[in-house]
C-alpha cells in the first residue's frame, strides 16, 4: 500500500485524532500542577474536610449549596498521569504500524525518541518542567518486564552452546571498552586544557564503564525487526544481558573510590571477587526463585487462574531480592526465567501458557515504548552542558573501542569454536553494540556533588545513545541485506528434525565416551540424566514428570496443528504448506492377509465416514486422513467393522448434542483421560484431570468413542456428563483408539442405545433431534 493511501485511511485519521487529544490532555494536566505544586499542603486537604476539622468554632463556616459536580484532579493525579503516558505510548505504537512506509525504514525506537522529543518540547513550551526518566522508576518498573520477557523465552540450547563466546564478549569485551574509552578520554581531557582539566581519571573510568555496556533494551528493539540469524542474535543479546554484572561492579567500584581519588591493588582484587559474587550470586538467587516457582506450579492444578501470577511475582521477587544485596538483578531475572520455564510449562494449562506469553509481551512492549519516549523527553528536560571535544571524542572512542574489541576477541575465540565467526559476523556484532537507557539512568544516579561534571557526562551519553540508536539502528537493516547476512529461518520444527537432534545428542555423547574425554556433550548428558532422575520428579506434577522429551515435543506439535486448524476457521485443508496426498495408507507395509475384499470395501466406507464426519467435525477430517486411516483399514476384525461405523454415528450424534449444550456452563466431571486428550483440550479446563499412564494410550489424536472400555454399569447421569465432557473438550481434535477386542464392543452396542435415548429425554430436546435421521441410509 502506498503510504499516502495509508495515511488517509480512516483508521489512521482516527488514531491521529486520538493522539492529539491525548497529547492535549497530557499537557493540560501538567498545567494545574503548576498552581497546585506550590501549595502541596492544601492539596491533600482539598476534598472539603474543612468543616469537620474544627467542630469547636463552627461559627465562621457558612453553609454552601451541596456541590453537585466538582472538579478534583489532585487526588487522581498520579495514576491519571501514568495512565495517560501509557496510553500515549500505546497509541504511538499503533500509529507507527499504520504508516507502512515509515516503519519499514526507521526502527520503532527512533520514532519513539522523536515523539519523546516532541512531547518534551511541547511541555517545555507550555512552561512546565518535563518529567525526567527517574532511575528508580526505570530500574524497578520499566526494566524488569523487558528482561523477564527475554529471559523466559531465551533459547537455552543456543545460549549454552555459545556460552563461552558470550561470556568472553560480555566480560572481557566490556572491560576492554571501559578502560579504553575511559583512559583515552582522560588523555583528551588533560590535553584539552582548562575547561576539562578538572575531570580526573577515576571519573573518566567511571564514565567509560557506564557507556561501554551494550544495552539489552536497544538491542532487542532493533534486532527484533531485522530477523537476523539465531547465532548472531544470541551472541549480541546474550552479551547485553551478561555484561550487567561487569557494569554493576565497575560502576560501584569507581563511584566508591572517586571521592577518595585513588585505587589500590587491594581494591582491584576485591573488585574481581565482587564481580564473581555479583554474577554468581545473582544467578543463584534467580535459580532459587525459579525452583520455588516451579515447585509452586506443581500444585496449581485446581486454581489455574492464578498460575501466571506466580510466574510474574516470583520473577519480580528474584529481581528485587538481588537488588537488595546489590547483586546483578538482570542475571537473577534471566536465571529465574530460564530455570523455571521447562517445569512450569509442563505443569500449567495451555491457557495459562498463552496468558504468560501475552502478558510478558505486552508489558515488555509498553515498557520499551515508554523508555524510548522518556529518553526523548529527558533529553529536552535534562540539564545539559555541551562540550564539543568531550562529546565528539566519546563517540569516536566508543566506536573504535567496540570494533577493536570485537575483532581482537573473535581472533582468540575462533581458536576454540567449531563454527568460526566470519568477518561478516564480526561486523554485525560490532555494529549491533547499541547503547541505551540503562547507561542514561546510571549517569542520572550520579551525585552532582561528587561529580561536578555530571551534566557533561549526561550530554555525552545522550549523544552516544542517539548516535547508536539513530545511525546504527537505521542503517543496520540495509546493511544486513547488503552483506547478505543469513537471516532467521522461519521453518517449523518437524518431528524428523527433533528425532535426529536427539539422536545426534546421544551419538555425540557416545563418541565422546569412546574417545574418552569429557566434553560438552558428556556434561550435558549428565545434567539431563540428573534432571530426569531427581529434579523432574520434584517439580513436575503427575505423569508428565516421566514423559520423554520426544513425546512432549510430539504432543506440542499436535496441539499446534490442532490450534491452527481451528483458527483457520475449520477449513478443509491444513493451513501449512503440505499439499500432499500422502497418507498413512501409503506407508504401511502391505500385509498379504489384507488382500481380500476389505481394501475395496474400505475405500467406499471411508468416503461415507468422511462425509458424515465432515458435517460436524470438519476440522479433524484432514487429521484423520493423515494419522489414522490405518486404523480404519487395518481392522483385523471384519465384523468389527460395522460396529465401528455404528459407533461413529452415535458419536456424531452425541457431538451434536454437546454442541447444543455448550451454551450452558457445565462443569465437566473429571474422568481420567489419556494425556493426549488432556493436552489437546482447547476449551476451558477448570479441573484437574487425572492422567492415565502413557502406556495405555497412543499419542495420536483419538476419537474417543462414547463410552470408554469400562464395563461397569454407570449411572446414566454420570454417563451423560462423562460422555458430555469428553467430546466437548476435544474441540481440538478427534482421536481414534485402536479398537479393543471387538467382543467387548459388541456387548456394548445394545446397551448404549437405550442410554442414548434416555439421554435424549434428559437433555434439552433441541433441533438436533431431527438431524439424526440424515445418516440412516448409512447403516447396513
Amino acid at each position: 500500500r502506498d503510504w499516502r493511501t495509508g495515511c488517509f485511511d480512516e483508521e489512521c485519521f482516527g488514531v491521529l485524532k486520538m493522539f492529539i487529544l491525548v497529547l492535549g490532555l497530557l499537557v493540560g494536566s501538567l498545567m494545574p500542577l503548576g498552581g497546585a505544586a506550590s501549595s502541596p499542603d492544601t492539596g491533600t486537604g482539598h476534598g472539603g474536610s474543612h468543616g469537620n476539622k474544627n467542630p469547636g468554632n463552627g461559627t465562621t463556616y457558612s453553609k454552601k449549596p451541596f456541590p453537585v459536580l466538582s472538579f478534583d484532579y489532585e487526588h487522581v493525579r498520579l495514576p491519571f498521569e501514568i495512565s495517560l503516558w501509557v496510553l500515549l505510548a500505546s497509541l504511538m505504537k499503533l500509529g507507527f504500524h499504520l504508516i507502512p512506509r515509515v516503519s519499514s525504514i526507521v526502527p520503532e525506537s527512533c520514532l519513539l525518541i522523536v515523539v519523546g522529543l516532541l512531547v518534551g518540547g511541547l511541555i517545555k513550551m507550555v512552561g512546565e518542567d518535563p518529567p525526567v526518566l527517574e532511575s528508580k522508576i526505570f530500574f524497578f518498573y520499566l526494566l524488569p518486564p523487558i528482561i523477564l520477557d527475554a529471559g523466559y523465552f531465551m533459547p537455552i540450547r543456543q545460549f549454552t552452546e555459545n556460552l563461552g563466546t558470550i561470556l568472553m564478549f560480555a566480560v572481557v569485551g566490556t572491560l576492554w571498552n571501559s578502560f579504553f574509552v575511559g583512559g583515552l578520554l582522560y588523555g583528551v581531557c588533560q590535553l584539552e586544557g582548562h575547561k576539562l582539566a578538572y575531570v580526573d581519571l577515576l571519573s573518566c573510568l567511571l564514565f567509560g564503564s557506564i557507556i561501554s555496556a551494550v544495552d539489552p533494551v536497544a538491542v532487542l528493539a532493533v534486532f527484533e525487526e531485522i530477523h537476523i540469524n539465531e547465532l548472531l542474535h544470541i551472541l549480541v543479546f546474550g552479551e547485553s544481558l551478561l555484561n550487567d554484572a561487569v557494569t554493576v561492579v565497575l560502576y560501584h567500584l569507581f563511584e566508591e573510590y572517586s571521592s577518595v581519588g585513588s585505587i589500590t591493588f587491594m581494591d582491584v582484587f576485591l573488585g574481581i571477587v565482587c564481580f564473581l559474587v555479583v554474577s554468581l550470586g545473582g544467578i543463584v538467587v534467580g535459580a532459587i526463585y525459579g525452583i520455588l516457582a516451579a515447585f509452586t506450579s506443581r500444585f496449581t492444578s485446581h486454581t489455574r487462574v492464578i498460575e501466571p501470577l506466580f510466574v510474574f511475582v516470583y520473577s519480580y521477587m528474584a529481581y528485587l531480592s538481588a537488588e537488595v544485596f546489590h547483586l546483578s538483578g538482570i542475571m537473577a531475572l534471566i536465571a529465574c526465567g530460564a530455570v523455571m520455564r521447562p517445569y512450569v510449562e509442563a505443569n500449567i494449562s495451555h491457557k495459562s501458557h498463552t496468558t504468560i506469553k501475552y502478558f510478558l509481551k505486552m508489558w515488555s512492549s509498553v515498557s520499551d515504548t515508554l523508555i524510548f519516549i522518556f529518553l526523548g523527553v529527558s533529553t529536552v528536560a535534562g540539564p545539559h552542558q555541551w562540550n564539543w571535544t568531550f562529546v565528539v571524542a566519546t563517540v569516536i572512542f566508543c566506536l573504535v573501542a567496540r570494533v577493536l574489541g570485537v575483532v581482537g576477541l573473535t581472533f582468540v575465540i575462533n581458536k576454540f569454536r567449531i563454527v568460526k565467526l566470519t568477518s561478516k559476523d564480526q561486523f554485525i556484532i560490532a555494529y549491533g553494540g547499541l547503547r541505551g537507557a540503562i547507561a542514561f539512568s546510571l549517569v542520572y544516579l550520579l551525585n552532582p556533588k561528587h561529580f561536578p561534571m555530571r551534566n557533561m557526562f549526561l550530554t555525552a551519553i545522550i549523544t552516544v545513545i542517539f548516535f547508536t540508536v539513530f545511525v546504527q539502528g537505521m542503517t543496520i537493516r540495509p546493511l544486513v541485506d547488503l552483506l547478505a547476512v543469513k537471516k532467521k529461518q522461519e521453518t517449523k520444527r518437524s518431528i524428523n528434525e527433533e528425532i535426529h537432534t536427539q539422536f545426534l545428542d546421544h551419538l555425540l555423547t557416545g563418541i565422546e565416551d569412546i574417545c574418552g574425554h569429557y566434553g560438552h556433550h558428556h556434561w550435558k548428558d549428565k545434567l539431563n540424566r540428573f534432571n530426569k532422575k531427581y529434579v523432574k520428579k520434584c517439580l513436575i506434577a503427575g505423569e508428565r514428570s516421566k514423559e520423554p522429551q520426544l513425546i512432549a515435543f510430539y504432543h506440542k506439535m499436535e496441539m499446534k496443528q490442532a490450534i491452527e486448524l481451528v483458527e483457520s476457521g475449520g477449513g478443509a485443508k491444513l493451513p501449512s504448506a503440505l499439499p500432499s496426498t500422502v497418507s498413512m495408507q501409503n506407508i504401511q507395509p502391505k500385509k498379504p492377509s489384507q488382500d481380500r475384499a476389505l481394501p475395496q470395501l474400505s475405500k467406499a466406507r471411508e468416503e461415507e465416514i468422511r462425509k458424515i464426519l465432515r458435517t460436524n467435525l470438519q476440522r479433524t477430517r484432514q487429521r484423520l486422513r493423515s494419522y489414522n486411516r490405518h486404523t480404519l483399514i487395518a481392522d483385523p476384525y471384519e465384523d468389527g467393522w460395522n460396529e465401528m461405523l455404528l459407533k461413529r454415528k452415535k458419536m456424531k450424534e452425541l457431538e451434536k448434542k454437546i454442541s447444543q449444550m455448550n451454551n450452558y456452563l457445565t462443569v465437566p466431571a473429571p474422568p481420567p483421560d489419556s494425556p493426549t486428550i488432556t493436552r489437546a483440550r482447547l476449551a476451558s479446563d477448570p479441573q484437574a484431570w487425572g492422567l492415565k499412564s502413557v502406556t495405555e494410550s497412543i499419542p495420536t489424536i483419538k476419537v474417543d468413542l462414547a463410552s470408554p472400555q469400562s464395563p461397569e454399569s454407570v449411572n446414566v447421569v454420570d454417563e451423560f456428563s462423562k460422555k458430555g465432557s469428553q467430546p466437548k473438550e476435544e474441540e481440538g481434535g478427534l482421536t481414534m483408539k485402536v479398537p479393543s477386542p471387538a467382543k467387548q464392543r459388541k456387548d456394548k452396542t445394545p446397551d448404549e442405545e437405550p442410554q442414548q435415548r434416555l439421554m435424549r429425554c434428559l437433555s434439552d430436546p433441541g433441533p438436533a433431534a431431527e438431524e439424526e435421521d440424515e445418516d440412516e441410509p448409512f447403516l447396513p
Binding site: K420, N496, I499, I511, G516, S580, V582, P589, K590, E696
Partner: protein
Amino acid sequence: MGASQSGPVHMFQDLAHKTGFSTEQIKNLHNRFMYLTQDEDTLRREHLENISNLALNPIRRQIIEAFFDKRNMGEKERGCLQEIGFEEFVTVLSFFRPPKPRTADEMKNIKKEKLRFLFNMHDTDNDGIITLDEYRHVVEELLSSYETIGAETAKAISDAAMLEVASVTVGQMGPGEFYEGITFEQFMQILKDVEIETKMNIHFWNLDTRTMQCGK
C-alpha cells in the same frame, strides 16, 4: 604390540594425511585405542561394551555397530566386521572431526558424508532405504531409557515421522501406492535444515587422554 608397532610414526602420518587429523591427535587416539583393547591389536565389540558410560546410552548398540560397519570404512562392500584395527577406528572417528573452513562445495561434500554415516546407522539391513520398521526401531531405542513408554507410542511417532518424510519428499501419492522407505536423497532433503556439518562434531583435543579418567 608386535608387527603393528613397526614404523608407528610413519603409520600415524599416513593416517593423519588420510583422515585429516593432526599427528598429535592420531597419537592420542592410538593411546586410547590401546587402552580400550587392553594392548591388543584389534578392537572387538566387547571392548566397546565395557565402557561404563556408554552403557547408559540408549543408542549404544547402533553406535557400536557403526564401528564395525564396512560401509563406513570407505569401501564399497557391505556387511559387518568382527574386529577392527586402529586404522578403521580412526576412519570412523574422522566422521566427527570438525571441518576446517572450506569452500561451499567441499562443505556440501562433508555434509553428505556425515549424513551418509547417519543413514548407515539407521539402515541396518544394508538395502539402501530406511523402512518403517527400521525407523521405528530407531525411535524405540531413543525412548528405551523411559520404562513407561510402550511400543505403540514409538510406532505412532515413527509413523508420523515417516508420513512427514513422504509428504515432504514425494508429495503426491495415490491411495494405492506404497512408499517403500526413505532413500538417501530424501534423507538429505529432510535434514537439510539441521546443519549437520556444524553439529555433528566433537573436539579432538591435542591432549593426552590417558591422563584423564576414561570412565572405564
